[in-house]
């Protein structure tokens, strides 16, 4: 009740104080007067203030989650009878940093060692692509939980096509294998989009179902149709020349570059194109979209296809750049971590890039953390921290209270609306 209404009256009163009256709109004298009334400098807040306003909450949520993670590290050895170890969080987080960015000292000079950083980038690539998939869908008011399934589809088809092209010229094999994965994901994203458009079936329900369907169909297809011979478990054949070229360092492959390019492509799509405007309008107000002559059903199907394409590309990049083959259960976490990445990045492509890099760093560093703490801090702690981040983002009031933050509009306002909306009005569209 208070929020929006107050701002409204505020603006109005301010304008009135300038001394124009509604009648005079057509009179030139009044127009001049209005110009004098000035555009207050507060019209567009400066860049730094804007950055803080949008990023304060995610940043503080991360710090909060890390703090609680530290408490967890202090408690757990006590509970398990290994005694109180006050320095454990420092050791653990130190190792996490070392494992994800390395020692800055080793970066420079002869034979600089960027391996840790490279690992972070490689881990981040599929998360960024997956995060973009979820984030783009959020922009259209859709909650695509199906990135996991789209990822699997992309991974599978990239692996199969890649193996088939293992012997042909790499300049031909790589793009075709990538494309196969991306298109498989797009097709798999189109299904829930089409169902929503045609029948009103809620995408959350259908994508969850389709995740299971993808996993099970692919398990069957793998073992009965495409399994390569000579292995102790069902997997696809070697991808040979379809492997993504390494661009620099030990393992930073083409997929990393693609992920970063995708960030800017999606950013451009959303902000600079008419299609992006249509997607955002459908997400913000489907009725107004219809009124503006946009066909929401078409946009929903299209957005889910693009979202699926990104999810499929994430799977393809993971197979062709890292894994080398498809087997049951590979990179199962990516599809769901992508949701966290999108929420943390607030569906903004640049935010998603930052969040993807952070989670990539967690994944790159978690192994060293476990080793350096003598298994006292297992890798699962990272999952706990990720979950806590989402908890604080969603329950943003906790952070606001503690820091007296006036970040005006809710952190996940649009996303939460997307997640919760329309459950009661199935099929209304």
């Amino acid at each position: 009740m208070s929020g929006a209404g107050d701002t409204g009256s505020r603006n109005d009163v301010r304008a009135q104080a300038g001394g124009t009256d509604p009648l005079a709109a057509t009179a030139p004298a009044a127009a001049q007067d209005r110009d004098n009334r000035s555009r207050p400098p507060s019209g567009r807040p400066n860049a730094l203030a804007r950055l803080w306003r949008t990023s304060a909450l995610p940043v503080l949520s991360i710090l909060f989650a890390l703090a609680i993670g530290a408490i967890l590290m202090l408690i757990s050895p006590v509970v398990t009878g290994k005694g109180f170890q006050p320095t454990l969080p420092i050791t653990a987080y130190g190792a996490l940093v070392e494992g994800s960015i390395g020692h800055p000292g080793t970066w420079f000079g002869e034979g600089g060692n960027f391996n840790a950083l490279a690992n972070t980038l490689v881990q981040a690539a599929p998360l960024i692509l997956g995060g973009l998939a979820v984030g783009l869908a959020f922009k259209a008011g859709l909650f695509n939980i199906g990135v996991a399934g789209q990822f699997l589809m992309g991974a599978f088809f990239a692996a199969v096509v890649g193996a088939r092209l293992a012997q042909v010229d790499t300049n031909f094999a790589v793009p075709i294998a990538l494309l196969a994965g991306a298109l498989a994901g797009a097709a798999y994203g189109f299904i829930p989009g089409f169902l929503k458009g045609r029948t009103g079936a809620h995408e959350v329900v259908t994508t969850i179902m389709l995740n299971s369907i993808a996993a099970l169909i692919l398990a069957w297809a793998l073992s009965d149709l495409v399994a390569a011979t000579g292995f102790s478990f069902p997997r696809t054949g070697d991808i040979g020349n379809s492997r993504l070229p390494v661009l620099f360092g030990r393992n930073v492959h083409l997929g990393v570059l693609l992920a970063f390019i995708a960030v800017f492509v999606i950013r451009f799509l959303l902000n600079r194109t008419t299609l992006g405007f249509e997607i955002r309008t459908v997400g913000a107000n489907p009725n107004a979209a219809r009124y503006a002559g946009i066909r929401p059903l078409l946009i929903v199907a299209l957005t889910m296809s693009i979202s699926g394409l990104l999810g499929g590309l994430a799977g393809a990049v993971q197979i062709l750049g890292v894994q080398g083959f498809y087997a049951v259960g590979i990179s199962a976490n990516v599809g769901f971590d992508a949701i966290t990445v999108a929420l943390l990045g607030r569906s903004n492509p640049l935010g998603i890039m930052a969040a993807g890099l952070l989670f990539g760093a967690f994944r790159a560093g978690q192994g060293l953390m476990q080793i350096n703490t003598n298994l006292l801090v297992p890798v699962e702690v990272i999952d706990v921290i990720q979950a806590l981040i989402i908890l604080f983002l969603a329950a943003d009031i906790i952070i606001r209270r503690v820091f007296r933050l006036r970040a005006a509009k809710g952190a996940l306002e649009g996303e939460v609306r997307t997640v919760t909306q329309s459950w009661g009005e199935q099929g209304a569209r």
């Binding site: 009740m1 107050d6 009256s9 603006n11 509604p22 555009r39 600079r272 008419t274 107000n285």
Partner: protein, 521 residues
């Protein structure tokens, strides 16, 4: 007269927001058993003042006295405890719960510990409703009630909590004329039983009809308190706006040209599949305004939606300038120079999270100059905003301000600015001034007349009978999906049209006199 202290006194209430003073030393006293109207334009500070009273925001300065005692009201709970009840403009009801469940929400009657005693609550609510003359079954679900009845549930809710002072925020904004009359009856009865009422409004006639005293607020300050018997609409309007306002539109002479819109035998179904438009024939010429009067929900929305391409008619013909365009899409219709101001600006007219400049091109984003191929042309979009914002007097700090931050009047001006610019052959207006203050209404009415005089055919649908009568060159009455009568402006009598709105053709058979053109039965 001064034996008892006023039930409420607010003294020197000041509330500053960054860059503005919303309330500037406001004094207000409400006597026991009076209806005290708070009159002011959108954004004058009425709602801020009442939000302070209800504990939703804290004042920077000033004090509140209830029954002569200083009262600190930190939150709505404090307010309720002191007998202050509030009925918001947008109802705070849970649609899937029953009347009784909504009324007791937060004050549940408990039988056994932890068990809800709904039966007991229902009896008490029924008794309370009876006392007020409400015909409301406490067991009915909210979403099955009309808006007018939902409002009564809100009032019940406040009274159930022991309110002695009831604040009603723009209670008639969502009501039909009949419902407005009914709610006035309720308010008078409440007053008779000693309840004090603060009635927030910007409608002059209503304020004069119901209030014992009227306090006018302009730009955060009290500019005067009047007694209805000793004032006039004209004086109140001047106090409210700060200058002389013409309350009557100078329509001038219309010069009808060729037929622009012709509709034959149109049938349209609503979302539930009911035939809500049941055979409409109409014609509008260029340079004339056809007004459709009618109680909301008689098929006006569906008729308008079918005309602008948002809804497919089941049968019938729609022709624009002689060309058949039945069932064409919204975009096709817009390409034929149709402009449309929708009835619900929040649902259709605006994307509230978008800045003003994007809202100003919402329906033309895909055309030159706003699009070049598949790319947006931000410069052209910015230039249009720079042009339209002063031209339509949209009061905003900048074109980048979100639409949600504007007052209702300014939001509507954004919609009007967008729809009224460019070439228009047919202008469809659905409740174009709903919830606006007199200054904005005057402005929009002048724009409508200007468009008519420029040769546009105008279809005006409004639940405000006065608006229809003032603006229209011809007036049609819509009742249960059909146009039951059409009159030329000079022959349109308020009385007769009111009867037709309420009862359809039955009103004519009672000997009310034959209209010029009765639609075919």
């Amino acid at each position: 007269m001064t034996e008892t202290p006023p039930i409420l006194e607010m003294r020197g209430i000041t509330k500053r927001f960054p860059g503005t003073v919303a309330n500037d030393g406001i004094d207000l006293d409400v006597r026991s058993g009076e209806v005290h109207a708070l009159l002011g334009e959108n954004g004058a500070g009425k709602s801020t003042l009442m939000n302070i009273l209800y504990g939703l925001i804290g004042p920077d300065e000033g004090e509140i006295l209830v029954d002569g005692q200083r009262a600190v009201i930190r939150d709505p709970t404090d307010a309720i405890r002191r007998g202050i009840g509030m009925v918001h403009q947008h109802f705070m009801l849970v649609p899937v719960l029953t009347v009784a469940e909504n009324v007791i929400l937060g004050q549940e009657t408990v039988g056994l510990p932890g068990m809800l005693d709904l039966r007991e609550a229902e009896t008490r609510i029924a008794a309370l409703a009876d006392q007020l003359g409400f015909e409301i079954d406490p067991r009915v679900r909210i979403d099955q009630l009309s808006v007018g009845h939902q409002q009564r549930v809100e009032i019940l809710k406040a009274l159930y909590r022991g309110a002695r002072l009831l604040v009603l925020d723009e209670p008639t904004a969502v009501l039909t004329p009949q419902e407005t009359e009914e709610i006035f009856g309720v308010l008078r009865r409440l007053k008779g039983e000693g309840t004090s009422i603060v009635f927030i409004s910007h409608k002059l006639d209503e304020v004069l009809a119901i209030a014992d005293r009227v306090t006018v607020i302009r730009r955060g300050k009290v500019v005067g308190t009047r007694i209805p018997a000793e004032t006039s609409e004209r004086e109140l309007a001047e106090l409210m706006v700060g200058r002389a306002v013409s309350l009557v539109v100078d329509r001038g002479q219309s010069h009808p040209g060729d037929v622009v819109l012709s509709v034959e035998g149109l049938h349209v179904k609503d979302d539930r599949g009911n035939e809500s438009v049941a055979g409409v024939d109409l014609e509008i010429r260029g340079g004339e305004i056809l007004g459709i009067a009618g109680v909301a929900g008689n098929g006006q929305d569906e008729l308008v939606e079918a005309l602008v391409g948002l809804r497919k008619p089941s049968t019938g013909r729609v022709r624009l300038a002689g060309k058949d365009c039945t069932g064409k899409s919204t975009r096709d219709m817009r390409a034929r120079d149709i402009a449309y101001v929708p009835g619900d600006r929040h649902r259709f007219g605006l994307v509230l999270t978008y800045p003003i400049d994007d809202n100003l091109i919402l329906t033309a984003y895909h055309e030159a100059p706003y699009a070049r191929g598949f790319l947006r042309n931000d410069r052209a979009i910015g230039e249009t905003a720079k042009e339209l914002i002063p031209q339509f007097d949209i009061r905003t700090p900048s074109a980048a301000t979100r639409a949600s931050a504007l007052s209702g009047g300014n939001q509507q001006k954004v919609v009007v600015a967008r729809e009224f610019s460019g070439v228009i052959s047919l202008l469809v207006l659905d409740q174009p001034t709903r919830g606006l203050d007199v200054g904005s209404i005057e402005f929009i009415h002048k724009q409508v007349i200007a468009k008519r005089d420029a040769g546009a055919a105008v279809l005006l649908v409004s639940a405000e009978l006065d608006e229809v009568l003032e603006l229209s060159d011809r007036v049609a009455v819509m009742y249960r999906g059909r146009l039951v009568a059409t009159y030329d402006a000079e022959e349109a009598e308020r009385e007769r049209i009111g009867l037709l709105m309420a009862r359809g053709e039955a009103a004519l058979q009672d000997g009310a006199g034959a209209p010029v053109g009765v639609a075919d039965p």
